[in-house]
């Protein structure tokens, strides 16, 4: 608006539209209906939160070593504490727990080193984590060398088994998925057809069927007397299954890279593999980090399905725990504990992926 003496000076915002009170007014108490809904929502939250807090913290039992300690009426965390070794290590012999602990300690150390910018030679650490570490971890878990006694895979279980299955699944399915995605985009008809058939076959089958086939049907087709490890078969099943999903996620990323990038790489004289590994894949994988992590999270939770072929992952050991005579009836505590553990791992992966996206952002708009 034009006035005789030029425009009016800016007014400060009214006090009731700024700060906490302003925010409350705008978002929670904007109208009568809005206010009513706010109070209704608060009441519903109150109804849910109070008993939950009472059950988890106020009326719960934390100390003791048998079900007799659970008398307060709330959650009985004594059950979890008493069976924690089963949940973490399955039926792994107790004198070998240090081997599992050491294997995971090394892994955590490597992952921490990889995420500190100042650490020199992170490329070598990454290579060691992917190539050297699995060998060390295998000997720590399985034994049979360096004076370690052999612990058969049917004794493996609990959270450590869940982590092994998902770790192997994650590490193996990404590169296989990348190769399949490149294959599906290939100009060579046989490579392309083979990739499509593979991807569509594994994506079309439920994981539970894959695991069942690997454990029950596969031995029927193998010559008599040959047996190979049930855990290994489950791992192969999971890896092939997840690779197919990963391939499609990566293909989405490849499709999002402008044609000009391929052309610029070609024009500079880079051959197919160099332009893929140096130019296209770094960009494509960065674009689909959310999709990749999504698949990882799904994989992590899908590993619970190995219970149908008799492997004792975290969830199955917890179920076994509350089905034991001395702890009958503590299913809720068990499931809440399982949910918490799964949530911690999945949420960490999700946060890590967001962190990674931010770190890799180089300021280009798409």
């Amino acid at each position: 608006m034009i006035t005789k003496n030029g425009s009016l000076p800016d007014q400060p915002p009214p006090t009731n539209s700024i700060g906490v009170i302003g925010w409350l007014r705008r978002n929670l108490f904007a109208s009568v209906l809005n206010t009513l809904l706010t109070f209704l929502a608060l009441y519903i939250i109150y109804l849910g939160i109070v008993p939950a807090v009472n059950w988890v913290f106020v009326n719960s039992d934390w100390v003791g070593d048998s079900r007799d300690a659970c008398s307060s009426g709330g959650a009985c965390w004594v059950f979890i504490a008493a069976r924690i070794n089963l949940f973490m290590y399955g039926f792994y012999p107790e004198e070998g727990y240090w081997r599992i602990n050491l294997a995971f300690a090394i892994l955590v150390l490597l992952l921490v080193l990889l995420n500190i910018r100042q650490v020199p030679r992170r490329g070598w650490i990454a290579a060691f984590t992917l190539i050297g570490y699995p060998i060390i971890a295998f000997y720590l878990f399985y034994g049979g060398a360096f004076g370690l006694t052999v612990v058969d895979t049917h004794n493996w279980g609990g959270l450590s088994l869940t982590l092994i299955l998902s770790g192997v699944g994650i590490v193996a399915s990404l590169p296989i998925g990348v190769v399949l995605a490149l294959g599906r985009n290939s100009q060579m008809p046989i490579v392309k057809a083979a990739s499509i058939v593979f991807i569509e076959f594994w994506r079309g089958v439920p994981l539970i069927t894959v695991l069942f086939m690997s454990s029950v049907m596969l031995p029927l087709f193998l010559p008599e007397g040959t047996s190979f490890d049930k855990l290994l078969r489950a791992m192969i099943g999971i890896v092939l299954f997840e690779s197919a999903y990963m391939a499609e996620v990566v293909r989405g990323g490849l499709a999002a890279i402008p044609r000009g990038q391929y052309e610029a790489a070609k024009a500079l004289g880079l051959n197919y593999w160099k332009s893929m590994t140096l130019i296209i894949l770094p960009q494509a994988l960065k674009l689909v980090i959310p999709g990749i992590v999504n698949t990882f999270i799904a994989l992590f939770k899908d590993t619970t399905l190995v219970l149908i072929i008799g492997l004792f992952d975290l969830l199955t050991t917890i179920e076994a725990g509350f089905k034991h005579v001395s702890w009958l009836g503590f299913a809720v505590e068990g499931y809440v504990f399982a949910a918490l553990i799964y949530w911690i791992f999945c949420f960490s992966m999700s946060r890590y992926s967001q962190n990674l996206e931010r770190k890799l952002h180089t300021g280009h708009a798409r």
Binding site: P258, G260, A264, K266, K274, A365
Partner: protein, 256 residues
């Protein structure tokens, strides 16, 4: 149809570095390039113009095999292009290309963009590649941006980086595919200046552009294309003041 080169003493001065003989190209049923004949000698600067869809970009993209031709011959620096990947790679090492949309690699810094091909294609040690890259970045007058990512630069700066990136491979031919068409007006000049100084250094250049001022001052020869054919080929003065062909006259009257 073939058209005699208007400036025979220029082409006769040295051996041809590019020879295109009776080249045709189809996209499926669509006949994009028809009977292209073109001889370029070392050090020549050729501007190719024409209405959109006339096949000018497609033609220069055939020279480094970003597009394949279906009939005729393309001989670059004595090597005839065919399906042989080794030959294609050899030619691509000798032919630099600058694109309309720069096509810098957004995940790499400016310096890394420039060093990538020398390191991975020419097997140059990293240190030497970086020195050469800095030299060329200085030549296009943006050495101070070396550590930045392409996304942090203006369009004109990005295009100059793209030129430096191509030069790092020390090519004997440079192809420019509408290098200024995606730029804001005030950035066109900085890119054209870079190209002019490159021309002065004796580089063989094929430039698809609508910058007629550039054509007038820099080109040895201007080629006009329409409907997938070379309609007219002449030295810039004759081309602009006295075009032979009706379609050329029409085109020039529309853009000038």
């Amino acid at each position: 149809m073939t058209i005699e080169t208007a400036n025979p003493e220029l082409t006769a001065s040295s051996a041809p570095i590019i020879e295109i003989v009776g080249m045709h190209k189809w996209y499926g049923e669509f006949h994009v390039l028809k009977e292209i004949n073109l001889t370029v000698s070392r050090g020549e600067r050729i501007v190719i113009c024409g209405p959109s869809g006339s096949g000018k970009s497609t033609m220069i993209r055939c020279i480094n095999r970003l597009e394949e031709h279906q009939r005729g011959q393309i001989i670059v620096d004595g090597i005839e292009l065919n399906d042989d990947l080794k030959r294609i790679d050899k030619i691509r090492r000798e032919v630099g290309m600058v694109f309309q949309h720069f096509n810098l690699f957004p995940h790499l810094t400016v310096l890394e963009n420039c060093c990538l091909a020398p390191i991975w294609v020419r097997k140059m040690p990293r240190k030497q590649a970086e020195e050469i890259a800095m030299e060329y970045l200085e030549r296009v007058r943006i050495p101070e941006q070396a550590k930045k990512y392409p996304g942090q630069l203006s369009g004109g700066q990005q295009q100059r980086v793209a030129i430096a990136r191509s030069l790092c491979m020390s090519p004997s031919i440079m192809l420019f595919d509408e290098p200024t068409s995606a730029l804001d007006p005030e950035m066109i000049k900085e890119v054209l200046d870079t190209m002019i100084s490159l021309a002065e250094s004796g580089m063989t250049m094929l430039v698809v552009t609508h910058e007629m001022g550039f054509a007038k001052t820099v080109a040895n020869r201007v080629i006009f294309m329409d409907g997938g054919q070379i309609i007219e080929e002449n030295d810039p003065e004759t081309f602009f003041t006295n075009p032979e062909h009706e379609r050329t006259q029409l085109f020039l009257s529309q853009i000038m």
